[in-house]
Point group: C2
Chain length 415, copies 2
């Protein structure tokens, strides 16, 4: 089955608002084996809406409209879809009564315009909306002699998602041929995309029955594997086999084969070892700590540390000798090591992490250019240090530095 | 003039990739006074592409295609647009030669498929692409008897943006009626959207010649004002007048009338006063420091501080007495104040900020529920403290806590 998604709302045609519902819906539809062939964004304009609806009805089997179901005069989805289908709208007295109750429960009187949310396309099934006033509609119909399924869903993402999961998912599954989808996400840290692609393409190309998508983000590559089969077991074992081959090729560059983030994986390994971590951050200014503590339960292995943005605080909090700072400069291999060792002692943790670099755009020199970052990781016996030259703007350099620092901890714990 | 944007690429119909080019283009077009009436996302499918092109040509005056200009067999934009317009494609030998040079300069031999990037729609102006191999095309034509402007632009955002700014902006401006647009963005911290709307709607509704858009994000509301007039002076003084009225109504909730972020504004005020800041963060885990240091030059007023995720480190780095932690608990008014005062002394800064709370989802109690956060700001003579109960998930609670902490510093410096 193929689908078209039509997002409705003039605000989606401004530079400030983007349609995110279609990403959610695409993921859910793909999991059911439905492919999305068009996504349309149209303003609150009845003529445009009817034209878009007619075109979609002519080419897609499933058409999902999101938005435009509210009570204001700008909310035109019901009218436009009824017009495109050549069907009547009728006002459902039960829904009107429920709307009135909803308002009364809050001690409000319902204004007259709200009643239009009870207008239902002839033959449609009403889809109750637990999180809002406007119900959705499920319309099984024909257009130009061909069977069509049309869904009207509310625009606010939490309303749409609740309603889709409670009212649409099972109904859709039941109306589709029985098929099982298996997916796997491999996440890879700090490997150039071209290098990754060159190594994995020969492998996944041998598996034509698995759809492989490569996505590169800052300091990370994701390999999304997806296949469908008549049984769950066949689909699962198929992606398992490819995932295993890819992991063997990429080795310890793969940090997760189940979608977990790098900070989750670092936390997982620390907890397994009963180990603890502290950080002393200069150029990242708290970003490494922020990422580590974004994981719920991180207090079990992360103690905290210091944001040592000034030289004085490098000495005060991590005990970096003033002479060392003077001799090598704050951005140096020696100071990174002293930060890691010093913070580890002060926080009494198993590991200490030190990061110092030039995030830019100012502050670079010929000898120490913007993007130069030193990362150090200390344990009781040994301190390792990594020097990197990251390209890009301040935000990108800081992100890569935090990624490299977390990856050092991960690799240390793998050993 | 109205415009339609057609984004091309099967990857844009997956759950993983969204079209961001259209937001950039919409902003640029709006600034020129061009309204976007439709946005279409279509896969690498010639039949679908031709249909989308024909429909757009029937209803919009300016049609911008993004993507599908590369060398692979999936890149079909040129062929589809030529077919929809009923025009021929011809291969431009000059572009072929330039492509060959580009490859030769890197010591590579050009593969044959690259030559299709030199295929030009009859009558089109070639738009050189400094950042990539595929040039854009500017096609001034007629469709069904009506004048149409069709632009073919490359898909990678940095290629598209470079090419649009260098090759399209001035050409477009010259082909449009002379008009000036003035815009203003007011940013408002930590005010409920409904309250803000109730206060500002009566004001901006009196200014029908200014388009006002309210956008609410986490802990912040933005009011976007936009007007057009025959002279820049008229447009500017019009938005100035409304901005002044709105600022008077909202008072010190407005933290910026020029688009600056809260962390930039805090930095600006600190620098103006020659003051310095340090932080002791528990539940935010480094987020306040990360936000402050995301601003280039922040070392002039931000010294650093401590991530005091464990109780031991609250004592070690900020000198919070163990007895105080035992008596009141880590999440308490008293500990927040001790964190602010202690970190201020240790870092020898003008101000010290302390944040402690329950970010969740675990760790809440009846007395101290998830979302409870204490924020304290200390100077030499006085420490103020704010208690807040934030709703939402871990990420939202941490963000609101950082927003509240930064806003305390801003308000302190306004006095």
């Amino acid at each position: 089955m193929n689908a078209e998604i039509i997002a409705i709302g003039s605000e989606l045609l401004t530079p400030y608002r983007r349609d995110t519902n279609s990403l959610y819906l695409t993921e859910k539809l793909n999991q059911l084996g439905v492919e999305v062939i068009f996504k349309i964004i149209v303003g609150d304009n009845r003529e445009h809406l009817v034209a878009a609806a007619r075109l979609a009805l002519a080419r897609a089997e499933l058409i999902i409209f999101t938005g435009g179901l509210g009570p204001t005069e700008d909310d035109l989805t019901r009218e436009a879809v009824a017009e495109a289908l050549g069907l009547e709208l009728h006002r459902d007295p039960e829904i009107v009564a429920r709307l009135q109750q909803r308002f009364a429960a809050r001690g409000w009187k319902m204004s007259a315009n709200n009643a239009k949310q009870a207008d239902i396309v002839a033959g449609a099934t009403v889809l109750p909306n637990r999180n809002g006033t406007a119900p959705g509609q499920w319309i099984n119909t024909r257009y130009d002699g061909r069977g069509r399924l049309v869904l009207l869903l509310p625009g606010p993402p939490h309303e749409l998602q609740g309603l889709f999961e409670e009212q649409c998912l099972e109904r859709l599954r039941a109306s589709l041929p029985q098929e099982f989808i298996a997916t796997r996400v491999l996440r890879i840290a700090l490997m150039p995309e071209s290098q990754c692609d060159a190594r994995v393409a020969p492998i996944y190309k041998r598996h034509a029955d698995i759809q492989t998508t490569i996505l590169a983000a800052k300091g990370e590559i994701q390999l999304h594997l997806r296949t469908r089969a008549a049984s769950a077991q066949v689909a699962e074992s198929r992606v398992d086999a490819l995932a295993a081959e890819l992991e063997q090729e990429l080795g310890d560059f793969v940090f997760s084969d189940n979608g977990e983030s790098l900070e989750q994986i670092v936390g997982y390994h620390l907890q397994m070892r009963g180990a603890t971590l502290s950080v002393a951050e200069s150029c990242t200014g708290g970003l490494v700590g922020e990422r580590l503590t974004s994981v719920s339960g991180s207090s079990r292995y992360f103690r905290g540390g210091a944001i040592v943005y000034s030289n004085e605080l490098k000495t005060e909090f991590a005990g970096v000798p003033k002479g060392l700072l003077k001799k090598h400069g704050a951005v140096s291999r020696e100071v990174a090591m002293a930060l890691a060792e010093g913070i580890r002692k002060r926080c009494a943790t198993t590991f200490g992490l030190g990061v110092t670099g030039v995030a830019g755009p100012g502050g670079g020199t010929a000898e120490k250019p913007v993007g130069l970052v030193f990362h150090a990781l200390a344990d009781e016996r040994h301190t390792e240090v990594l020097e990197r030259n990251f390209l890009g703007d301040r935000e990108r350099i800081r992100w890569f530095a935090s990624q490299q620092a977390l990856d050092m901890v991960r690799r240390k714990l793998l050993k």
